[in-house]
């Protein structure tokens, strides 16, 4: 399963004031995110639970690939329904072949393999993020430059699909903002 949350990193005493400012800014961002309904996975979970929403896909982003033959899409799936859902496949307007893969560590060696159909339990959130699950796009036919948008469709079992828009961002933005607080914008989508 994807990791659901990141621990805030502890700062040294000499950075207390900086941390405080950063914390206040983050609180502000989080508040803004909740207000617009497009914030972190936490706020997405809350919204889904309250609204009884369907499957929501948020925070979709693609680090601009340095190798045009391969790209990865990261996103967050929140299952706001009262039943488990199974993600069977993914298609994108980037062209090529898309598939959910999982990176893992085997005795210090990084490996990657297709993840197969993925179940998201009722009420659960699955985070596709660096070093874990991701949608691998092989041989995209479109060039993917920072600022571009790619439509991503997640096909769930039972002919249900969810469409979201992934923004192509600088890889460093994914590194620094991997928890959704960074520059990466998310576009919410609901099941049909």
């Amino acid at each position: 399963m994807g990791r659901l949350a990141r621990q805030p990193r502890r700062r040294s005493p000499r950075r207390t004031s900086t941390s405080l400012v950063v914390a206040l800014v983050l609180v502000g961002l989080a508040a803004a995110g909740c207000g617009s309904g497009s914030g972190t996975s936490d706020s997405a979970t809350t919204v889904a639970a309250h609204a009884g929403a369907g499957i929501r896909v948020t925070n979709a982003r693609i680090p601009a690939p340095a190798n045009p033959d391969t790209a990865a899409v990261y996103l967050t799936i929140t299952n706001g329904t009262d039943h488990d859902v199974v993600l069977e496949s993914v298609t994108t307007t980037a062209g090529g072949h898309a598939e959910v893969h999982r990176s893992s560590d085997e005795n210090g060696m990084a490996t990657m393999a297709p993840a197969g159909p993925m179940t998201v339990d009722a009420g659960a959130t699955l985070v596709l993020e660096p070093g874990g699950y991701h949608v691998m796009v092989m041989n995209p036919t479109r060039s993917l430059q920072v600022g571009d948008h790619v439509s991503v469709t997640l096909h769930f079992r039972g002919a249900q699909k969810v469409v979201t828009t992934a923004r192509v961002v600088a890889p460093s933005d994914v590194v620094a903002g991997g928890d959704g607080h960074g520059d990466a914008e998310s576009d919410d989508a609901h099941g049909h």
Binding site: R9, S12, P13, R14, P63, A64, P65, A66, N67, D69, T70, A71, A72, G96, H97, E99, H101, S103, D105, E106, N107, G108, M109, A110, T111, M112, A113, P114, P130, G131, H134, M136, V137, M138, N139, A170, P171, S172, V174, V175, A176, G178
Partner: protein, 233 residues
């Protein structure tokens, strides 16, 4: 009615103001000194229990220095890792450019961290990316790929058999390839870390995955001072 005598406010008022100002200055100084002292105490107190590194992972068994050299993207034979001079570091990563998830973000994470460092420190850190996919990583393509992160990263494309021999010496399994269904591509396994060699000729720590650039930069700054065995007591 005579107006009430003007109260002689000026001089005593000024005095009182000066007195109050002095007290304020003294109080503020006292607070500042107290805070500084307590902060120092906190710092000292925490250092003992804090992990030494913010992002780096200490390897249970430090890696020896590889002896392997391979052609860089200009075709010049280049050691994968050099024993760094005092005040320098040699960083080694094994990866491939068709890697969609791990390698690009590891490189982006490292590049972002190096940008945090002052140029004088940055210039003392050598970074080598050794391809585990010499089949597809043509020198020109590798150079372009690395330049997207940091043009000073050195790309080398050793024959896979030599890399596997090195990996065995470092304690890692040989590289394996796995076809990716539905495409003509394949995934390649590779050691997961950015290994940091210090002047003692060992990699005691590595960075795994993506980390906050400032955390990595702090760790690199610390490591630029050389490896301190007391860090792993």
């Amino acid at each position: 009615m005579t107006p009430p005598p003007a109260r002689p406010v000026t001089r005593p008022g000024l005095r009182r103001g000066l007195w109050i100002a002095s007290v304020v200055v003294i109080v503020i100084s006292a607070i500042a000194i107290t805070v500084a002292v307590r902060r120092g105490a906190d710092d000292g107190g925490r250092r003992a229990s804090d992990p030494v590194f913010r992002a780096a992972t200490v390897m249970p068994d430090p890696l020896p220095l590889p002896t392997q050299a391979a052609p860089d993207t200009a075709g010049v034979s280049t050691p994968l890792a050099t024993r760094p001079d005092a005040g320098h570091l040699s960083l080694l990563y094994f990866g491939y450019t068709h890697c969609p998830d791990v390698c690009p973000l590891d490189m982006a994470s490292l590049a972002a961290a190096l940008e945090e460092l002052p140029e004088a420190q940055r210039a003392k850190i050598r970074v080598v990316f050794a391809s585990v996919d010499p089949e597809r990583d043509e020198p020109a393509a590798l150079e372009r790929w690395l330049a997207a992160y940091d043009p000073t990263f050195i790309g080398v494309t050793p024959p896979l058999a030599e890399t596997n021999a090195t990996l065995a010496k470092l304690g890692y399994a040989a590289v394996t390839t796995e076809p990716i269904p539905g495409s003509d591509g394949y995934a390649v396994s590779h050691p997961a870390g950015v290994y940091v060699y210090t002047p003692d000729g060992r990699a005691h720590v590595a960075f795994f995955g993506t980390n906050a650039p400032t955390d990595v930069a702090d760790d690199l700054t610390r490591l630029l001072g050389g490896w301190d065995p007391s860090w792993v007591d």
